[in-house]
């Protein structure tokens, strides 16, 4: 009973907010909250609820307070109304111990102030430095491409760059700045619009984090702690201030989490307007997140797991009929699967519609794809449809960026197979890519008007003569220059006279024999008649002697890979009627699929080079090494992307602390420990809300350990957002727990001073490290005169 008394007295000891000084906070109860309601006066009429109306009205007030213009809904997570009547219902929630903190004004004012602080910290010195920083050179350039409508290739989906382009367009940037390399001065070009857009989205992260934590933990101080961590983290500030995809990605990501949390809170009133609103907003944000970077898939996974859990709970609720369950399922399928898919596809539709001019990305795509682009030599051309003997053709390898079959006068050097003419794959259009199709047994000129046209058919044995050098495509049992297990491919013979090793069987994939071969559409395989190997491109780059073109080999391993498949791109035959290639234009689903294949291969192609020092995932949470955004030397204006070490190490410690606390709690519950109501509620927050955030952190961090591609420090920032929110929740819970164990006045002091100490620590460390984001000039940190002197705590930091 002593415990009980303590917990009733608890609220008074725990409040941080000035509202405590008001007398009404001392006696928590329904009347109190209702008086707050009366004060606010703008809340919706409350539906009759079978349980503690006090807390619901509180939630309604808070909902209204937080989102004055948005829809409101109850903040309670419990689904008590749906429980069968027979089951013993839990006791109605006791008056929350720290409730006075959450008086309406107490929610409004902090939100407004942290938003203000966040915007201030992100927009401060936004235009400095006035030159291209780090990856701005890519994303700024791609924004310009959208303004100029030039087609390009990037490994990320288009939404982020489209938004950058749009922001630039609206702010009066005309797309003419070349963004050649980091350090280029912007001059008169208007770059503030694009940076401002990114900074705006980056600033939104803080209020989002605040609202998420508030919704999950119902604790103002936890929310404030999380928000202040993000406001005062130098890394988040730096990453938000430049033209990058990360602020956009994180905006959608946090938006998705926020709306997910909100719709979970609305679960007591399913199918109400707010429920639909938040559910579909989750879907929209998910589409945005994957639309910016594929890393967005992790948040999709998080929402997916949360939804599965949600549906599982609903399924176990026997008071719901199967029809209702079906409605729940369909609503989620519609909002969380179909809606994002439609939006995602729509982004690509816009992307393809906007970028309709030929540009630097053409070579990555198939011939059919290129025919869409204005200015590409495949656009609006007309060629003969079927291959005939005597046709002059170019052959393109079907692997990504495969290049055209190419030969030139140069020979393979001494010691590299037979000393015959080189055959390579070349990425650019060139006269040396032209080949003539001949019959294997005769050297007649098929273009002679007296000859009748004879089409090449599937299964024919042919000879390919290089047009410029009149040598035949040839292979033999010498090892290929790079891929030793394959055979070398050379140009052989004089004026078309070679030997039996020049014969190739031409086959079309998935075709019966005797069929004609189509330009562009047919996937061709060339089998060497004598050795049975297949002509392919290995994708390896030849050394200097091969002009760094791509190796072409004859592979004895008969496998269906795009490496060994070719298509005919150009086709010249004066005796055949030309048809327009427009009929061959690929449909939207086809180009969508192709661009995804190209993106995925591009991503997996970003492998670290041998002996290159790369960032490892384990470096990130310990803030081991940052990224140089701008400037190297003492005279330069230097910006260095590095997290605020105090904040990051606090986050790191917190993860361990959280795991420890969660394990202890869960084991204690499993062992049947009797908890008081307050501790039960605390453990609920710790396990459920904290668990969700922890899952988010894991999903955004662990997969990087399995990725083979090049990784950078900034990949950790989405995970860092989760980690910061977890810090807020964990410390709040820990301090409340300590406070609950101590006597009343003591507990109050511990809680208040603990929170204050954490906040002060964060603010002070930001004061120390702020030059990292806002720019440093002058000597390096090793010099005692430097502003950063003595702050280079790790040798690996480069400032």
């Amino acid at each position: 009973t002593l415990r009980r008394v303590r917990s009733v007295a608890f609220p008074t000891c725990l409040s941080l907010h000035p509202a405590t000084s008001r007398g009404d906070a001392l006696a928590p109860g329904a009347e109190n909250y209702n008086s707050h309601d009366a004060l606010r006066g703008n809340q919706t009429p409350l539906p009759a609820m079978p349980y503690g109306a006090d807390s619901l009205s509180l939630d309604a007030v808070r909902g209204g307070a937080r989102l004055p213009s948005g829809p409101r809904c109850g903040g309670l997570r419990q689904r008590r109304p749906r429980r069968p009547a027979g089951e013993p219902s839990r006791p109605s929630p006791p008056p929350r111990a720290w409730a006075p903190l959450e008086a309406p004004v107490g929610v409004w004012a902090p939100l407004a102030s942290i938003t203000l602080l966040s915007f201030a910290s992100r927009f401060y010195r936004l235009c400095e430095p006035p030159h291209v920083c780090w990856d701005e050179t890519h994303f700024g350039k791609m924004g310009s491409y959208y303004i100029n409508r030039t087609f390009f290739f990037d490994v990320h989906p288009p939404l982020g760059k489209m938004l950058i382009g749009l922001a630039g367009y609206l702010s009066g940037y005309n797309g003419t700045f070349p963004f050649q390399k980091p350090g280029d001065r912007y001059g008169h070009h208007n770059y503030i619009g694009m940076r401002g857009f990114c900074a705006f989205l980056g600033s939104c992260l803080v209020p989002f984090a605040y609202l998420i934590v508030l919704e999950l933990s119902k604790s103002l101080s936890a929310a404030l702690l999380a928000a202040s961590i993000l406001i005062f983290d130098t890394g988040c500030i730096t990453l938000s201030q430049y033209i990058l995809l990360d602020p956009i990605l994180m905006f959608f990501l946090m938006g998705a989490v926020l709306s997910m949390v909100k719709y979970n809170s609305c679960a007591v009133r399913p199918f109400s307007a707010p429920w639909w609103f938040w559910l579909s907003l989750t879907g929209v944000n998910l589409a945005g997140a994957i639309g910016v970077k594929f890393v967005g898939l992790f948040v999709v996974l998080l929402v997916g797991l949360n939804t599965v859990y949600d549906l599982w709970e609903l399924l176990g609720d026997l008071s719901l009929s199967l029809v209702t369950l079906g409605k729940h399922l369909l609503a989620r399928v519609f909002c969380l699967i179909l809606l994002p898919l439609v939006l995602y596809t729509a982004q690509f539709a816009v992307h393809f519609a906007v970028l309709n001019k030929s540009g630097p990305g053409d070579g990555f795509f198939s011939s059919a794809f290129q025919s869409r682009l204005i200015g590409n030599n495949l656009h609006n051309v007309s060629v003969p449809e079927h291959l005939a003997y005597g046709s002059v053709i170019t052959m393109k390898n079907l692997r990504m960026a495969g290049g055209y079959l190419h030969s030139h006068w140069h020979l393979y050097p001494e010691g590299v197979g037979a000393r015959q003419q080189q055959v390579t794959a070349y990425l650019h259009k060139d006269l040396n890519n032209l080949w003539v199709i001949k019959k294997h047994d005769s050297n007649t000129d098929h273009l002679d008007p007296s000859c009748s046209v004879e089409f090449v058919r599937h299964g024919d044995v042919i000879r390919l003569e290089h047009k410029e050098t009149s040598r035949n495509l040839h292979s033999h049992q010498h090892e290929a220059p790079m891929t030793r297990k394959h055979f070398q491919v050379t140009g052989y013979g004089i004026n078309g006279t070679g030997d039996a090793n020049d014969f190739w069987r031409i086959e079309v994939v998935g075709r019966k024999s005797g069929k004609r071969i189509k330009v562009l559409r047919s996937q061709i395989r060339l089998t060497h008649l004598a050795t049975g190997c297949i002509l392919g491109s290995s994708g390896k780059t030849l050394p200097k002697w091969g002009w760094e073109q791509v190796e072409v080999t004859c592979t004895p391993y008969v496998k269906e890979t795009p490496n060994a498949l070719w298509n005919v791109e150009d086709h010249i035959n004066p005796k055949l009627p030309n048809i327009s290639l427009d009929v061959l234009k690929p449909s939207f689903p086809e180009i969508l699929l192709e661009s995804h294949m190209v993106m995925i291969r591009g991503n997996s192609g970003l492998k670290p080079k041998e002996n290159e020092v790369t960032s490892k995932p384990w470096h990130w949470p310990i803030n081991y090494q940052g990224l140089r955004f701008s400037g190297v030397n003492e005279t330069d204006y230097r910006v260095y992307l590095l997290g605020n070490p105090v904040v990051w190490w606090l986050n790191l410690v917190t993860i361990g602390l959280y795991l420890l606390m969660a394990t202890c709690t869960i084991v204690a519950i499993k062992r049947g420990a009797q908890l008081t109501v307050e501790f039960k509620e605390l453990s609920e927050v710790l396990l459920h809300s904290g668990g969700k955030i922890m899952l988010g952190w894991l999903l955004h961090y662990l997969p990087f350990f399995m990725m083979g591609r090049v990784l950078y420090f900034h990949h950790y920032f989405p995970a860092m957002l989760f980690s910061s929110m977890l810090t807020g929740i964990t410390w709040d819970t820990l301090l409340k727990f300590c406070a609950g164990c101590l006597s009343c006045s003591m507990g109050k002091r511990v809680y208040t001073y603990g929170m204050l100490a954490l906040m002060l620590l964060i603010v002070y460390s930001f004061y120390l490290f702020h030059p990292l984001s806002y720019g440093m000039v002058g000597p390096m940190a090793s010099d005692p005169n430097s502003p950063m002197a003595g702050l280079r705590w790790l040798e690996s930091w480069e400032f």
Partner: protein, 737 residues
Amino acid sequence: MLGFLKQPVVVTAEINMNLVALTVMGLVNRLWALSYPRAVVFDEVYYGQFVSLYMKRIFFVDDSGPPFGHMLLAFGGYLGGFDGNFLWNRIGAEYSMNVPVWSLRLLPALTGALCVPLAYQILVELHFSHCAAFGAALLILFENSLITQSRLMLLESVLIFFILLAILSYLKFYNLQKCSPFTAGWWFWLLLTGVACSCAVGVKYMGLFTYMLLLAIAGGHSWHLIGDQTLSNVSVLCHLLARGLALVVVPVAMYLSFFYVHLTVLYRSGPHDQIMTSAFQASLEGGLARITQGQPLEVAYGSQITLRNVLGKPVPCWLHSHKNTYPIRYENGRGSSHQQQVTCYPFKDVNNWWIVKDPGMQQLVVSNPPRPVRHGHIVQLVHGITTRYLNTHDVAAPLSPHSQEISCYIDYNISMPAQNLWRVEIVNRESDTDVWKTILSEVRFVHVNTSAVLKLSGASLPEWGYRQLEIIGEKLSKGHHQSMLWNVEEHRYGKSQEQKEREVELHSPTQADISKNLSFMARFTELQWKILTLKNEDTEHKYSSSPLDWITMDTNIAYWFHPISGAQIHLIGNILTWASANVATLVYVCLFLWYLLRRRRKICDIPEDAWRLWVSAGGLCVGGWAVNYLPFFMMEKTLFLYHYLPALTFQILLIPVVLQHLTDHLCRYPGYSTGCPAVLISGDKSSEMMGFLVPAPALILGTLHYVPSVITLPCLAEENYSVNACTGLGKVNCSPV
């Protein structure tokens, strides 16, 4: 006394004749004509080399896995008296008389045979009927792919044996847990689980998957234990500690012991020495140890040294210089300093010798007493043969234009002064005054003027640099990378001040007399790291396949082919077994989901006991299949059909599980489905027999159909099999397996 005269001594033995029969059948099936063919079959060519090296006690590194599997094979060779003298270079090569083929293949065959009774026992321990268990064992017995794999000197059957043993002992342990914890039997099975797990991991890293599965299952069971409030806190703690000991500590210790044996047995230097660091090499008998034995430990001013790059990639190499200079202009038009080339050279050479010089003194000999070089000291490095100083300056390196060129300075009398001071930074120092030690110290050379770091770029120079490796000065050194670290390998105190004498001295071999002993843990860590990071570059193979081909058995491997008689061995599965295993998996997953969703709605189709059985058996079999199969989709290495065999074994165990469940609960009486009592252990046999025996003959017939492809048969043109055998002829012959 003499009580036994009144009362007879009675020994009652209960022998499960099923088990005996299965074991005998397994042995016959796996051991029959074991030494045929007397030729190298497929991967025997690979494992054979290691057996030979074990016999000769020569050190090697195999990146395919830990050493326990190789050791077991070598043990077979040891028993057979194999001396290791056989050249393992070609598949199909006839074994010479000194190779004990039978005993080399015995161990895999024995373990393969024992898998049959193990499968039986596992199903019995899962509380399935003896009929179902017998069925499972028969399916394993007649699975051609398993037979083929066990009859050769390969490791998969050993791996499968340990996996099954681990599963069985865990089940035994778990069944004992309910009635008699902390008894001798309980401890025995618990410890055996850990031991079998570590053996499985020690044979192949694939064993990790099953180990993880078992850990997860044990974790789940422990969690229930924690929730059991009838147990006191102390006894729960004891239970948890016992599990931790047996399932974590014991396996780790066993794993270390494999390496301990491995490193103790292999004490001679051999072909893979070069991969290891100098310190490791010096710990082996012969090789580097012979050279470095007794050389002075502390590098002093005047020392003559060779510097080896610590990274060892793409090839191990030593800092090198020679008379030739950088070309004035490179092919791409950039200019160079035209000074003497500095490269990294992968062979021992007199041009690899450098002399450590004190910048403040002229002499190139070691004073008496020697003045050791310490961390942070500034030195000059003088190339021994040409007497030029190691130098770097603000000129772009030949192949890495973002880094500085490293040269040996030639004074052309132009405005390019010598910048030849280097600061020695010992990276693995214990204190800041550490002395630079031969072999042991890993050193970074930081250029004093530009703070560039001496680094191996990994690129090969073109013709003018004799294709040696490029050395650069990394200006912005990002973090620590092994390519920037160097260690002294050969070392002696220089005695001759005169250049001519010094040249003679440089050419003479070093001699001295200290040996460096590395601790076991240091050697283990290094070897383990090399095993995990070593990469084989060529990954294409005629018979490699993708994991998707495995389920449908779209692929096979021709293991062996006799050029004259045409007899051959193929690795190919029993199509009936594979198909029914796939069907069983599908049925299991569908039924499981169905039950799960219905139970959530409080509709129980099967009784609680049956449901628990269904979950535990399925979790083990489907879980085992999934963990042994799905990870392959994420692997980038060359994959073969035999990688699927462990997963297949689990899948096969599932067939009788599903069949018995179907007959017991779905096919019996239409109206019986809701309240059916647990018939699984007691229930009448006829229904179970029906369930299993109908498909069984078909499966066995199916096996017989494939037997020819497993055992061997002469390829006669008139026979039916000729088509298969002879079309393979050309390909198999030239296959570069």
